[in-house]
């Protein structure tokens, strides 16, 4: 009787979860195995026929898709370690700061994440725009002609926005883990003669490894699904093509009403994300205890 009651309590979660999460995923998977056929010319009837893995073979052999995958992988390899290192540094600084400053800086560091992603990207778009940006003006005054939206630099301009947005969020997770370190460990370290930096390197960082792995997994997943910043920047620069990131490619394919192909792209992206994050967790299992 008791376990039955427990099940009823999960219903408010289970019903929307199944309806709006599991069912659409299942539907997308089914859709990715079909293709559209038409009888009677352009204005004829459409039928959805089973196409097996045809859409998938198109996706994995599409050079634009593969370029997009390469792009997000490059992005991830560069941006994620830099961002996490920066977040770790900020957490260490915060941990050793005066109590009063702690509160202010905690809020200040987290504020960028509180701004909705699209609005942050729009703000940065103005900051990068050659005509409107005060930064570009300043640099031009100093003799530097910078093009933030050029084909070679726009990926890193996007990386800059992502770092700005998520460093505070990651810092907070690492900082919370740091707070959980018992005082006795610090006391033992002081007795052993460890200074601030040595404590940070040999005690704090190893003990927040689980938090670093957690933020690492989040960042990997987020990077593979990079979408908000590219689509906002697409409006201000032609250097962001329709297949700039795999997620953006799925979106533009769906906007072109090619749902089976878009579904296939999404499934491939989801599987790749799953494999990569699972591999990362496995590789860091010993250090993270997860």
């Amino acid at each position: 009787m008791r376990s039955r009651a427990r099940l009823w309590f999960t219903l408010p979660f289970l019903v929307p979860f199944v309806l709006f999460y599991l069912l659409p995923i299942g539907y997308a998977i089914v859709q990715s195995l079909t293709k559209t056929e038409r009888t009677g010319g352009i204005f004829g009837e459409t039928t959805t026929t089973f196409a097996g893995l045809e859409q998938y073979s198109r996706v994995v052999t599409d050079p634009a898709f593969l370029r997009g995958v390469g792009r997000v992988l490059l992005f991830g390899v560069v941006q994620v370690p830099i961002m996490l290192a920066f977040a770790l540094l900020l957490a260490l600084v915060l941990d050793s700061a005066v109590a009063r400053l702690k509160r202010t800086f905690r809020i200040a560091f987290f504020l960028p994440h509180g701004i909705p992603g699209v609005i942050a990207a729009l703000m940065w778009a103005f900051l990068y725009s050659p005509q409107l940006s005060p930064i570009v003006d300043l640099l031009e005054g100093g003799g530097l002609d910078v093009d933030f939206l050029g084909s070679g630099t726009i990926l890193w301009s996007i990386a800059d926005v992502v770092t700005w947005t998520y460093t505070g969020y990651n810092m907070l997770i690492i900082f919370a883990a740091m707070q959980a370190i018992p005082q006795s460990v610090y006391e033992a370290a002081k007795v052993d003669g460890a200074g601030g930096i040595r404590t940070a390197w040999s005690i704090k960082i190893p003990l927040v490894m689980p938090a670093l792995v957690l933020t690492g997994v989040f960042s990997i997943i987020g990077t593979l699904q990079l979408f908000t910043e590219p689509i906002v920047f697409r409006a201000i620069s032609t250097n962001v093509t329709s297949s700039y990131t795999p997620n953006l490619l799925a979106y533009t394919t769906a906007s072109a009403n090619n749902y089976p192909l878009a579904a296939a792209i999404s499934v491939v992206l989801a599987v790749a994300t799953f494999i990569l994050s699972f591999t990362f967790l496995r590789a860091t299992a010993k250090r993270s205890g997860l």
């Binding site: 293709k35 010319g41 634009a64 084909s151 032609t238 072109a256 009403n257």
Partner: protein, 139 residues
């Protein structure tokens, strides 16, 4: 043709297939876009330039326009209007064509391929998108 002109934007009037009065709706659509009085109103209130040849002689389209400092802007449109290829039909997947062309031109501007290669690639992408919708494409 002296200077070929293309068509971009504008508005369409369509009669939906489920309507109860298709003939009347079609007649109204035709009237809306060819009657001189309707065209004059559309130009005055909506700034629309008439697509119908009947609208070329509208009194509103002769003479200067105050907003442009008295310049006669409509004569340019009238000349271009006569040079538009009326055999051209918009495809059902034009947005795909636009995307392919935009991507191709981006690549060309960044030194990867030429503009004409971009156009060829866009043609191939358009064919592919039509076939994805089940439409047979003639060679």
């Amino acid at each position: 043709m002296s200077r070929p002109a293309g068509n971009w934007g504008g508005s369409t009037t369509a009669v939906l297939s489920g309507t109860e009065h298709p003939a009347e709706a079609a007649r109204f659509a035709l009237w809306l876009n060819t009657d001189p009085e309707a065209l004059a109103m559309a130009n005055e209130l909506g700034g629309l330039f008439p697509a119908a040849n009947a609208g070329e002689d509208l009194p509103a389209l002769q003479g200067g326009v105050g907003f442009y400092g008295g310049q006669e802007i409509f004569s340019i449109f009238q000349e271009a209007s006569g040079n538009v290829d009326t055999d051209f039909t918009w495809g059902p997947t034009m947005t795909d064509t636009y995307t392919a062309m935009s991507d191709g031109f981006t690549a060309a501007l960044n030194g990867q391929g030429t503009l004409s290669e971009a156009l060829t690639a866009a043609q191939e992408a358009s064919r592919q998108s039509l076939e994805d919708q089940g439409v047979q494409v003639a060679d």
